[in-house]
C-alpha cells in the first residue's frame, strides 16, 4: 500500500495546516488587530489546508505519471548499444523483462547479467526519484501553505477563495461524464481504425462469413481469417427480436393492468416484485438459461420431433425477454400514467368500456412514449452480454431458425478478448470493431428513444 502512503502524509499535513490556520485567525481576531475579520476562522484554516494539499498532490500526480517512463529511458540509455539496436517489438519485450525483474516477478532461470545490472540501476534510480519527489512534495505543500498562512488577516477574503476552489472542483467532477464518453469513443475508435487498416471496412460490414482465426504462420490451415460481421449481427438481432417478442406483450399488458385495473393492494405487491426481476444480475439469468430453460426447450423439441440445439437462440432470447419485462413495464407505466385523466373520462362519457378506452384512447396517446421505451429495451437487449455468453453459441451461422445456435456481437467480443491475447492481431482488434458497432447502434437507439420520450412528455405538461 505504498501508493497510498504519500497522499496520506499529505492529508495529515493538511489537517495540521487547517488547525494552525484556524488558530492564527482566532488569535488575530481576539486581539482585534486591524478591524473585523471578513471570513470566519474555519475558512482561513480551510484555505491554508487546501493550499497545502493542492500543490503537494500536483507534484505527486506528476511523479506517478512520468516517473516510470523517465527512469526507463534513463536506464535504457545506459544499456549497451547492441541490445537496443533491435526491432520495436523486441525493445518492448526487453522493457517488460526489465520491469518484471524490478518488480521481482522472476520467471526465467538464467538472467542476463547486463539486464540484472540494469534492473539494479533502475531500483536505485527509483528510490532516489521517490526521495526527490517526497522532498519536492513536502516543500511545495509547506511553502504554499505558509504563504497563505502569513496572509491571514482581517482583509483576506478566505470564504470566497475556499468557495471558488469548491466550485472549480464541482465543475471538474461534472466533466468526468463527458470525459468517459470521449474515452469510450477514442479507445474503441483507435483500435477499430487499426483493424480497418488490415481488413477493409466493406468486408467487415457486408461480409457473410465470420471466423476470426488468424494463423501464426502463413502456411497454416485456415490462415486467412474472415471478418464479415453480417452473421454476427443477424444472430444479435434474432435473439433481441425473440426477447422483444416476449417482453413487449407481457411488459405492456402488465403495465396496463397495474396502472388501469389493479387495486392499490395488488399494486403494492406486484410492483416491487417486478423491480426484483429488474435487480437480478444478468449472470444469474445466464445460469438460469443454461441450466433450466435451454435443456427444457431441447426436451420439448425432441418430444415434438424437432432437432433443437442445446444453445438455441430461443432459450437465450426467452430469458433475455424475461430480463427486460420490468424495463418495458416500468417505462410504459410512466407514460400511461402521464396520459391525462380527462382523456379517459371523455371516453367513458361516450360509453366506451375500459378496454376500449385503453386500446383506442390511452394507448394511442401514450404510443410515442411506449415506442421510446421499446427502443430503449431493444438497445438493452442488443448490449446484453452475460445471458448470451452463457446460453448462446459461438459459431456464427446465418440462419433464420431460432432452434439453432447463433452468436451475437457481445459473445464475440467476450470470446475474442478473454484470455491471453496480443494487442496487434486482427483477432483482438476485431473485438474493438464490434464494440464500435455495438456502441454506435445502441447510441442511435438511445438518442432516438430519449428524443421521442422527451418530446412526448412535454405535450401534456
Amino acid at each position: 500500500m505504498s501508493s497510498l502512503f504519500y497522499p496520506l502524509i499529505l492529508l495529515l499535513l493538511a489537517s495540521v495546516a487547517f488547525g494552525q490556520g484556524k488558530r492564527r485567525a482566532f488569535a488575530m481576531a481576539a486581539r482585534k488587530s486591524g478591524g473585523r475579520f471578513h471570513s470566519r476562522p474555519w475558512y482561513h484554516g480551510m484555505l491554508v489546508a487546501l493550499w497545502c494539499l493542492i500543490p503537494g498532490l500536483l507534484v505527486y500526480i506528476l511523479w506517478i505519471c512520468f516517473a516510470d517512463t523517465l527512469i526507463t529511458r534513463m536506464v535504457l540509455h545506459d544499456l549497451p548499444r547492441e541490445m537496443l539496436a533491435r526491432s520495436a517489438g523486441q525493445k518492448t519485450l526487453l522493457i517488460n523483462d526489465l520491469h518484471n525483474l524490478v518488480a521481482g516477478h522472476v520467471a526465467a532461470r538464467n538472467i542476463d547479467p547486463v539486464l540484472q545490472r540494469a534492473a539494479d540501476h533502475y531500483r536505485v534510480l527509483q528510490n532516489t526519484g521517490r526521495l526527490i519527489m517526497a522532498v519536492l512534495m513536502l516543500a511545495a505543500a509547506v511553502l504554499s501553505a505558509s504563504l497563505v498562512y502569513f496572509r491571514i488577516g482581517p482583509d483576506l477574503r478566505a470564504r470566497n477563495k475556499v468557495e471558488r476552489i469548491a466550485r472549480i472542483s464541482l465543475l471538474l467532477s461534472s466533466t468526468v461524464a463527458v470525459l468517459t464518453t470521449i474515452g469510450i469513443v477514442l479507445s474503441v475508435l483507435f483500435e477499430s481504425i487499426r483493424f480497418f487498416r488490415q481488413i477493409p471496412v466493406t468486408d467487415f460490414l457486408f461480409g457473410l462469413k465470420w471466423s476470426p482465426q488468424m494463423a501464426m504462420r502463413a502456411d497454416q490451415v485456415g490462415s486467412s481469417g474472415s471478418f464479415g460481421a453480417v452473421p454476427v449481427l443477424a444472430g444479435t438481432f434474432m435473439i433481441s427480436g425473440i426477447a422483444l417478442a416476449v417482453a413487449v406483450p407481457v411488459g405492456l399488458m402488465s403495465a396496463i393492468y397495474l396502472s388501469e385495473y389493479a387495486g392499490s393492494r395488488v399494486r403494492t405487491w406486484a410492483k416491487p416484485a417486478m423491480e426484483i426481476l429488474a435487480g437480478v444480475p444478468t449472470v444469474v439469468y445466464g445460469f438460469f438459461a443454461a441450466l433450466v430453460v435451454a435443456p427444457s426447450i431441447r426436451d420439448l423439441g425432441t418430444m415434438a420431433g424437432l432437432e433443437v440445439s442445446s444453445e438455441s437462440a430461443l432459450a437465450a432470447g426467452l430469458v433475455m425477454g424475461i430480463m427486460i419485462i420490468p424495463f418495458v413495464s416500468s417505462l410504459s407505466d410512466d407514460v400511461i400514467n402521464a396520459v391525462p385523466q380527462s382523456l379517459r373520462d371523455g371516453s367513458y362519457g361516450l360509453g366506451a368500456t375500459r378496454s376500449e378506452t385503453i386500446v383506442h384512447v390511452v394507448l394511442p396517446a401514450a404510443l410515442p412514449g411506449i415506442v421510446g421505451g421499446i427502443l430503449l429495451a431493444a438497445s438493452r437487449a442488443i448490449g446484453e452480454t452475460m445471458i448470451v455468453v452463457m446460453a448462446a453459441g459461438l459459431s456464427a451461422r446465418l440462419t433464420a431458425n431460432p432452434l439453432e445456435a447463433v452468436t451475437t456481437v457481445t459473445v464475440q467480443i467476450v470470446t475474442l478478448l478473454v484470455g491471453d491475447q496480443e494487442f496487434d492481431s486482427p483477432k483482438t482488434l476485431a473485438a474493438f470493431a464490434l464494440g464500435l458497432l455495438l456502441f454506435v447502434v445502441t447510441l442511435i437507439l438511445n438518442v432516438v428513444a430519449l428524443h421521442v420520450v422527451r418530446r412526448y412528455r412535454e405535450e401534456y405538461e
Partner: protein, 430 residues
C-alpha cells in the same frame, strides 16, 4: 321490453338497440382484456418464482458437504522437524484408509479407495501440522472432505440404479461408501469450506471467500470514487451550472451513458486503464474504476432528483439571512437531499455488485486461489466466480454456482432493503 328481431321492419332501429346488441360481446372482450393483463402480471411474477425456486432448489445442497471421519496417526517418524511442509501427508490419509479396509490389496483397487477422499485432504493435514506441531506423535480423529463424486452420491445426484459403466463410481466404491456410512464415518456436514476457501479446481475445496473479498475491495473503490464525484456533478448541474450548450452537452451525455452497454465500459477499461495507463490487470483497482464510470450516471440522476425535491423556500430562507450560495448548499440543501442521494448510491452499488461483463474484459476472470488483500492484487468478484463455476464441467459445481448466486442475491436484497428503509425513514413530503 325489447326483443331483437321480434318486430322486423315495424319499428325503427334506435341507437340504443345497436348498443344493447353489442353489449354482451363488448363486456366479454373487456373481461378477456382484463384477464390478459392479469395473466401478464402473473407470468412475470411466475418467472421470478421459477427463477428463485430453481436457484434455491439447486443451491441449498451445497451448504452441506460429505466428509469422512478418519483416524490419522501423526507418527513422529513421518516428520522431519526442519521441513514439516515436505512430509508425505497423502500417505497419512492412505494409511488410515488402509486400516479401515484391510481387505483391499490390489493396487488398482487401492487407488480407487484413496479416491474417495478429496485430494485436498493432504493439504488440510499439512496446514494443521504447520499450525500446531504438538500434533506430531499423536493420533487424532479428523473429519476430512470426501471427493465430490462421493458428495454427489450422498446428495442423490448420482443414481445407484444406473449401470456401473455409466457412472463415475464403481460398485465396489459404493460398497465402501455404504460401509463408511454404516460406521458413521461418512456424513453430510455443514460446508464451512464454501465460506472460508478461495477458488479451487476441486469442487469440494472451492469456496467463495476470495470472490467475496474481491467484490468488497472493488465496491470500496467504486464507492469512494463514484459517490463524491456523482454528488459533486449533481450539485454542479442542479445548483451552479449556467444554462448553456456545455451544460446541455453534459446532460445529454449522462443520459446516454446510462444506456451504454456495460461491456463497452469494459472495452474502455481494457484500452485505457490497462493499455494506456498500464494499471495492473485483474486488480480490484481497475475493476472499481470501470464500475465507477458505469454507476456514475445512476448516482448523478438520483442525486439530481433528490436535490430538485428540496423546496426553494429553504434556499431562499438561507439566502435571506445572508448565507452564501455555497453555504446554502452545504449547510441546508445537501443534508436534506442526502437520504435520496444515498438511496440512489446504494441502488447504483447494487447494480455494480451484480455486474460481470465489463470485468471479464479487464481480466478479472483469471483462476485465482488466493484471497486478495490489496487493491492491486489479482482478484475476481462474486458474479465472475459464478460465471466461471457455471462453465465448470463437474456436477458438484452446479450446486456451488447456485449457492454462490444465493449469496450474491442475499447481498443484493440486503442492499436494496437498506435503500428502501432509508427512503421510508428519511423521505420528507414538503
Amino acid at each position: 321490453m325489447k326483443k331483437h328481431g321480434a318486430m322486423p321492419g315495424k319499428e325503427k332501429v334506435t341507437a340504443m338497440d345497436v348498443v344493447q346488441k353489442g353489449l354482451a360481446r363488448r363486456y366479454r372482450r373487456e373481461r378477456w382484456f382484463r384477464r390478459m393483463g392479469l395473466a401478464a402480471v402473473l407470468a412475470s411474477i411466475g418467472f421470478l418464482g421459477l427463477l428463485f425456486v430453481s436457484i434455491i432448489g439447486n443451491g441449498w445442497s451445497a451448504f452441506t458437504q460429505a466428509e469422512v471421519l478418519l483416524d490419522i496417526d501423526f507418527a513422529a517418524a513421518q516428520f522431519d522437524v526442519d521441513n514439516l511442509a515436505r512430509a508425505n501427508y497423502g500417505a497419512l490419509v492412505k494409511k488410515s484408509l488402509q486400516k479401515l479396509f484391510p481387505g483391499v490389496k490390489d493396487r488398482r483397487q487401492k487407488r480407487k479407495l484413496y479416491r474417495l477422499v478429496s485430494s485436498g485432504a493432504a493439504f488440510i493435514l499439512q496446514k494443521m501440522v504447520m499450525q500446531d506441531t504438538s500434533l506430531i506423535g499423536t493420533s487424532r480423529r479428523i473429519w476430512l472432505p470426501a471427493d465430490d463424486e462421493v458428495d454427489m452420491l450422498l446428495k442423490g445426484y448420482i443414481s445407484r440404479s444406473v449401470p456401473e459403466s455409466q457412472r463415475r463410481l464403481t460398485d465396489r466404491q459404493i460398497g465402501w461408501i455404504d460401509r463408511l456410512i454404516a460406521d458413521g464415518r461418512l456424513k453430510k456436514r455443514f460446508n464451512t469450506t464454501f465460506f472460508t476457501a478461495g477458488d479451487s479446481r476441486e469442487p469440494e475445496l472451492a469456496g467463495i471467500r476470495g470472490a467475496v473479498a474481491g467484490s468488497l475491495l472493488t465496491m470500496l473503490v467504486t464507492l469512494l470514487l463514484s459517490f463524491p464525484v456523482g454528488v459533486a456533478t449533481a450539485v454542479y448541474l442542479e445548483e451552479f451550472a449556467p444554462r448553456n450548450r456545455w451544460t446541455d452537452l453534459i446532460e445529454v451525455n449522462i443520459n446516454n451513458l446510462a444506456a451504454v452497454p456495460s461491456i463497452v465500459f469494459g472495452l474502455l477499461g481494457l484500452a485505457f486503464f490497462l493499455g494506456v495507463l498500464g494499471l495492473p490487470r485483474s486488480s480490484p483497482l481497475v475493476g472499481g474504476l470501470v464500475l465507477t464510470l458505469m454507476t456514475l450516471p445512476t448516482i448523478i440522476i438520483a442525486s439530481r432528483a433528490s436535490l430538485k425535491s428540496v423546496p426553494p423556500s429553504i434556499r431562499e430562507a438561507a439566502l435571506g439571512i445572508g448565507a452564501s450560495k455555497m453555504q446554502v448548499i452545504v449547510h441546508h440543501v445537501l443534508p436534506l437531499a442526502m437520504p435520496g442521494m444515498m438511496t440512489g448510491t446504494i441502488i447504483g452499488m447494487a447494480q455494480a455488485l451484480g455486474e460481470t461483463a465489463p470485468l471479464l474484459m479487464i481480466g478479472m476472470v483469471a483462476f485465482i486461489v488466493d484471497v486478495p488483500t490489496g487493491l492491486t492484487d489479482p482478484a475476481t468478484v462474486l458474479p465472475v466466480q459464478i460465471y466461471l463455476w457455471a462453465d465448470a464441467p463437474e456436477r458438484a459445481f452446479v450446486e456451488r454456482t447456485a449457492a454462490a448466486i444465493m449469496v450474491l442475491l442475499a447481498f443484493l436484497i440486503c442492499m436494496n432493503g437498506l435503500a428502501v428503509y432509508l427512503r421510508r425513514k428519511f423521505e420528507r413530503r414538503w
